[in-house]
């Protein structure tokens, strides 16, 4: 990673506390997150279950307010949701009353910057980008899980965000569809030329997709390590067979295991 590259997102000492009303206690979810994402990069964040990965992503999107520190996108401090970021949620959350194309143009409709025909045109091009030409008039319930996530991604890309945030978008898909969608996502992002932060609990998914894998510590989350994914060649389904892929996988798995053991999520570290 050369420092000459443009910083797209920068989190500085981000702290986030939740007040749990029932337990009457404050819970620190994020405790001093420092992370920089460069333009055009795809970053994957992994970590022990419940460590606060999704909360961090929510903070970047502006849906949750940070308690201390700051997050900057294109050097602008984040105060709330904005058109420069878009989130792909885990549940596809497509509106059942909107057709595919109307779902894709949702963000554009809210912004109201473009004329109706321009919004249509833009949405149409996104539908085609994610490979759903011919399904514009379909309703979400008429689509498969994989297709719905394509619509979900298209909806996020439609507003032309600088930074795409993906919160375990493939978690609900079956294993085969997930692998296929991983390849598709890389193609889509390459075509759209976007910077992206991807949250997953699947280590192989993280390695496969990302330029760098960020490992979060157990809660309260901090950046434990950042692993450079130094795989050669284009990512294809065969990439996962490479010995180096295996090595990275074991390395990251051990880091997560360490964290899980430290907080008692698992009782003892099993030798890998």
């Amino acid at each position: 990673m050369t420092e000459a590259r443009t910083k797209k997102m920068e989190a500085r000492d981000v702290r986030l506390d939740f007040f749990n009303g029932r337990m009457k206690q404050e819970l620190t979810v994020l405790d001093g997150i420092d992370l920089t994402v460069y333009e055009g990069e795809l970053i994957a964040i992994v970590g022990p279950s419940g460590c606060g990965k999704s909360t961090f992503l929510g903070a970047v999107d502006g849906l949750v307010r940070v308690s201390a520190g700051e997050i900057r996108v294109d050097n602008r401090r984040i105060e709330g949701p904005g058109g420069d970021r878009a989130m792909v949620f885990q549940n596809d959350s497509l509106f059942p009353w909107r057709t595919v194309i109307d779902n894709v143009s949702y963000g554009l409709d809210l912004q109201g910057k473009l004329s109706r025909s321009e919004r249509r045109e833009r949405a149409q091009s996104l539908v085609e980008l994610v490979g759903l030409k011919g399904f514009e008039k379909h309703y979400p319930h008429e689509l498969s899980g994989g297709m719905r996530q394509r619509v979900n991604i298209a909806r996020a890309l439609a507003t032309d965000p600088e930074l795409l945030l993906l919160d375990e978008p493939f978690a609900a898909l079956d294993a085969q569809t997930r692998e296929f969608m991983q390849v598709e996502l890389l193609k889509i992002l390459a075509r759209a030329g976007k910077t992206a932060i991807f949250i997953t609990h699947q280590i192989d998914e993280a390695i496969f997709l990302a330029d760098r894998v960020v490992v979060f510590s157990a809660r309260p989350a901090r950046v434990k390590t950042i692993v450079n994914v130094d795989l050669v060649g284009q990512r294809t389904l065969e990439t996962k067979m490479q010995p180096r892929f295996r090595e990275l996988y074991d390395h990251i798995w051990r880091l997560i295991e360490e964290e899980s053991a430290r907080t008692g999520l698992i009782t003892s570290a099993v030798g890998a």
């Binding site: 502006g62 949701p81 949620f89 959350s93 509106f95 009353w97 309703y139």
Partner: protein
């Protein structure tokens, strides 16, 4: 069903059953024949003088009485009076209940102001208000419109309100993530999510409206199906009472069926429908 085929084993039967008229419509046909059997038994029981038609009437007598009522035109006035009362009362309830339900679902303060009234009136059998309604509106059509309105407006209002309030949290997140304002959240998420519940309210309101018609007209009226039944009943014209019952039941079933079909069409919009 001939028994000669029974040793010919299951596969043949399965194959044939797919094409048999009976198998494809079994549930419907069972119901149909159950009703047919009941009607025949009823008719025979009267013909054999097992039961007294003065109390029970009989299928043929009801048909004859119904035919006569339509043939001599005596029923049209009652039918149209009831239909107009229904249309006005139900229509008013929709016009008032739907917008008010939406507003109460969306604005917490408005809801806090009005909810005690709504709850109290929703819990009261509105038919209990009939004496008051007669005092206010008299015995002509307007009192029936009023009681139908009162019967119908609350189920519509309460269900619409619930619909607006139960929004899928994921949808809210999506809308907020795209920077939706409160009014945009209302228009693009809350309003469409409320449609399935609204339709349920309309269907439930229908049943209440029919009760309103019949009881309202029986209580004090000069025309209408309920009035006709009341008059027929007090002069022991059991056949004619039965005709009234069938008309009300048929209207209820037909309207409910239409609304159920519309509801089914919008079932996918329901917040808890998705996994």
């Amino acid at each position: 069903m001939s028994s000669s085929a029974s040793p010919a084993s299951a596969p043949t039967r399965v194959f044939r059953s797919r094409h048999s008229l009976w198998q494809r419509n079994e549930d419907f046909l069972l119901g149909f024949f159950a009703i047919l059997g009941f009607l025949i038994f009823w008719e025979v029981a009267v013909a054999q003088a097992w039961i007294n038609p003065l109390f029970t009437s009989s299928p043929l007598r009801i048909v004859r009485s119904g035919y006569q009522a339509f043939a001599d035109g005596s029923i049209y006035n009652d039918l149209s009076v009831s239909a107009i009362e229904f249309a006005l009362g139900y229509g008013l309830a929709v016009i008032v209940g739907v917008p008010l339900g939406i507003l109460m679902g969306w604005y917490r303060r408005l809801n806090a102001l009005l909810e005690p009234f709504v709850n109290a009136l929703y819990a009261t059998p509105r038919i209990a208000l009939m004496p008051l309604v007669i005092i206010w509106f008299g015995v002509d059509m307007s009192s029936k419109v009023a009681i139908i309105f009162l019967s119908t407006v609350f189920p519509i209002l309460v269900n619409t309100m619930t619909g607006v309030r139960t929004i899928d949290r994921d949808f809210v997140k999506v809308a907020r993530s795209f920077g939706a304002s409160d009014s945009q959240l209302f228009l693009t998420v809350a309003l469409p999510s409320s449609v399935p519940n609204l339709l349920t309210g309309l269907r439930l309101g229908l049943g209440h409206a029919l009760i309103g018609i019949v009881v309202g007209e029986m209580y004090g009226a000069s025309a209408g199906i309920g009035y006709m039944m009341q008059m027929a009943g007090s002069t022991f014209q059991t056949d004619r009472v039965m005709v009234g019952i069938i008309i009300i039941a048929a209207a209820g079933m037909a309207l409910t069926h239409v609304l159920k079909m519309i509801e089914h069409r919008f079932e996918m919009w329901r917040a808890d429908h998705r996994s």
